[in-house]
Symmetry: C2
Subunit: 253 residues, 2 copies
């Protein structure tokens, strides 16, 4: 190793994303825009604050702009109407809220994401980073899982062609533990997330496949033709991590 | 008019930015990265919260993630360590803090910016938008102003080639009025900002030239060879507005 890597250049992130966007487009994905700001109500509907309160950033305006003291302190902040997007896929679900999904639908989204990480690791663990996601929704879980498995295989091949090798493993997400409601959610999610771990010692996840079952569709009122909730899942790839992994692969050659 | 324009597509913003980046590169600009998150301390050093408290968004983590009530309410937010960047140029000054500027230096930055606008106008006035800036610093104000004037002329030509016409006018920024310290700053800034107003009735500013004099360099300890503060200014172009103006020009043809 020769010191921490410099921040990824915009051109390198764009180049990495171009390949990943093609992978999504080949699966018929429709592009969805992803602002950094996301309504707090959207994340609450998804159940995110219960599961990951420690990672969330709230965005608040100043309550009294004429305050002479503590202008930017919590006592003078308005009730936050927005949060910073912790993942790009949360921009997809509100677009389909209340709709019925008759056949599998694929969306893709590139988003600036934010997490209140205790420590940053340059190029790997950042408070602000970019993510490309492919989100699959459909009437049944089996079809959604089959589509995601195909996407994950193609991603593994795409990474290998850039010299990036690793293995898929069950994920261990740093869920926030105390709350009982969150705990149940956690169990469910823990069993259903796989990560592609890469780098020396497979020390970081380049991508993850998340099977949400009917959980998120239920919360957003997205139904299958029978009337029950539709199923969903996503493939998420960290763009800075892709750039780091590709650079490391280059250095090994 | 045929209804509000759809959100600008990433590809259109990229295409607009490519031209503006070339304009900056032709002036020898060095590219600087611009995260959405900016340390609160940086904006305080620049004097932004005093002048524009009503536009600022603070970013706060949750103080007690185990709180059973009001998890995301101000009473449970930590003291904000970050804000959302209200302009891209504030990422440039900290990089030069404490340095001496012996000759004019030009930087350019593309940044996601955020302002707590009371009302949004699609494609024109947004809470979250993108900005390309060219920032000029130098030992003396005359040289900085000369360089900025040249950049503004080339921008006017570039816009005209895309069918976008308009006129440069003194700006009327919505400063927050009550505070006396901010008031002095305001006066200073009001006289030194010019906007390129475009669109039907020249109703919005596509770009602005801001002469900061020695104000920002003084605050960041950036000096001229004589020991006094260096001078600075910037040219800022709104990317969504460029896309909107180019579309309107296309429709008029």
């Amino acid at each position: 190793m020769s010191g921490p890597p410099p921040p990824a250049r915009a051109a390198d992130l764009e180049s990495a994303d171009r390949r990943l966007r093609k992978l999504a487009e080949a699966a018929g994905a429709e592009e969805v825009p992803a602002p950094a700001l996301i309504p707090r109500a959207t994340l609450e509907r998804a159940g995110y604050p219960e599961a990951f309160p420690h990672l969330l950033f709230a965005v608040a305006a100043v309550a009294d702009p004429a305050a002479e003291e503590g202008l930017l302190e919590p006592g003078n902040l308005a009730s936050p109407g927005w949060c910073l997007s912790p993942a790009a896929c949360y921009h997809v679900y509100p677009r389909l809220a209340g709709e019925s999904v008759h056949r599998p639908r694929v969306f893709t989204v590139r988003g600036r994401c934010f997490r209140n990480e205790a420590g940053e690791v340059p190029g790997v663990r950042l408070r602000e980073f970019e993510m490309r996601e492919v989100v699959v929704l459909g009437p049944g879980e089996v079809e959604v899982e089959r589509l995601l498995a195909g996407l994950a295989r193609r991603l593994t091949s795409l990474a290998a062609r850039a010299g990036i090798t690793g293995g898929w493993e069950p994920a261990e997400d740093p869920f926030f533990l105390p709350r009982s409601a969150a705990k149940a959610l956690m169990q469910q999610l823990l069993e259903t997330k796989q990560e592609l771990r890469v780098g020396a010692g497979e020390r970081y996840a380049l991508a993850s496949v998340n099977h949400h079952g009917t959980h998120l569709c239920e919360r957003f009122g997205i139904t299958a033709p029978g009337g029950g909730p539709a199923a969903s899942g996503c493939l998420a790839i960290g763009l800075e991590r892709w750039v780091t992994a590709a650079r490391e692969a280059e250095e090994r050659r």
